[in-house]
C-alpha cells in the first residue's frame, strides 16, 4: 500500500523515555475534493494507527480527514525490555501496512 519510515533508538537504558517517529506515504484523500471534470474524489484516509511493544499496545491514534497527507506521528515510550516494536496503519479500504523495529535495552 505504501512506503513507511520508522525511527526508534537502537539502544536505550532501562526506564529511559525514548521518542518514536513514524511516517507513511499516503494521499489522505478527504472526499471533499473534485477532479477537473467535477466528479468527487472518493474518501481514502488512514483511519487507525497502532503501535505495540512486544505485543502490548502502547499507542493508538484514530485519524480523521484533518490529518495532512503522508501522516507523520511522533510519540514516546518507556524502554522496558529488549524486543520489537510493531507499527500498523489501516486505511478506509481495509488495507493494512506494517513496519517493525528492534530495540536493545541495557
Amino acid at each position: 500500500m505504501a512506503r513507511t519510515l520508522v525511527n526508534v533508538p537502537r539502544k536505550a537504558k532501562r526506564g529511559q523515555v525514548v521518542e518514536i517517529k513514524t511516517l507513511i506515504s499516503h494521499v489522505m484523500e478527504t472526499g471533499y475534493r473534485r477532479n477537473e471534470t467535477g466528479v468527487a474524489i472518493p474518501r481514502d484516509i488512514i483511519n487507525l494507527f497502532v503501535c505495540t511493544y512486544n505485543g502490548a499496545e502502547i499507542f493508538r491514534a484514530d485519524l480523521h480527514q484533518a490529518i495532512a497527507a503522508n501522516p507523520f506521528i511522533t510519540f514516546f515510550t518507556v524502554a522496558t525490555e529488549s524486543g520489537t516494536l510493531e507499527f500498523r496503519w489501516t486505511d478506509d479500504n481495509g488495507q493494512v501496512e506494517t513496519a517493525s523495529a528492534k530495540i536493545v535495552v541495557e
Binding site: 523515555v17 478527504t30 471533499y32 475534493r33 473534485r34 477532479n35 477537473e36 474524489i41 511493544y53 502490548a56 502502547i58 499507542f59 493508538r60 491514534a61 484514530d62 485519524l63 480523521h64 480527514q65 484533518a66 490529518i67 495532512a68 497527507a69 501522516p71 507523520f72 506521528i73 511522533t74 510519540f75 514516546f76 515510550t77 518507556v78 522496558t80
Partner: protein, 157 residues
Amino acid sequence: MTDDSPSLVTRRAALVGLASATVFEPLLVRRAEATPEMMKAAIRRVIGESPVRAGKVTLDIPPLVENGNTIAMSVSVESSMTETDYVKAIHVFNEKNPQPDIISVHLGPRAGKATFSTRIRLADSQNVVAIAELSDGSLWSDTVEVIVTLAACLEYN
C-alpha cells in the same frame, strides 16, 4: 381608489415577500464546514457531558500559518505518567474544517511522557482545541487561535 387600495397593499406585500425570499435564500444553503456548534457536539460525543477545565494541556501550533495543508502540531500534557496517575487519551478538534475531528490518541503509563506530534490540515482561520482525558476521569483543555492564509481542502487536482 378606495376599492383599489387593498389589492395594492397585497401586491406590495407580495413583492416585498418575493424580494426578501430572493435575498435570503442563498444564506440558508449550508456550507460544507463544521461550525463551533458542530465542534461542541463532536466534543460531547467523544468525552460525554463531564466538565472540561482549562490547564495542564499545552497545544503547540503556529498562530500564523501560510499553508493550511500541512501544519505541524504537538500536544503535551502535564502528568507524572505513573500506574495511578496518567493520561488516557488526547483528542483534538477544530471549528471550521468540513469535519470537526482531527485526531484522538490513546496512551497509558507506558508512554512515559504524555506528548505526541503530527501534521494537520486547516480549511480556514479558526480555533483548535485539545482535550486530555486523565486516569482519574478529569478533563483538561487548551485552545489556540490559528490564522491561515492559504486554506486546505479548496484546491482542485
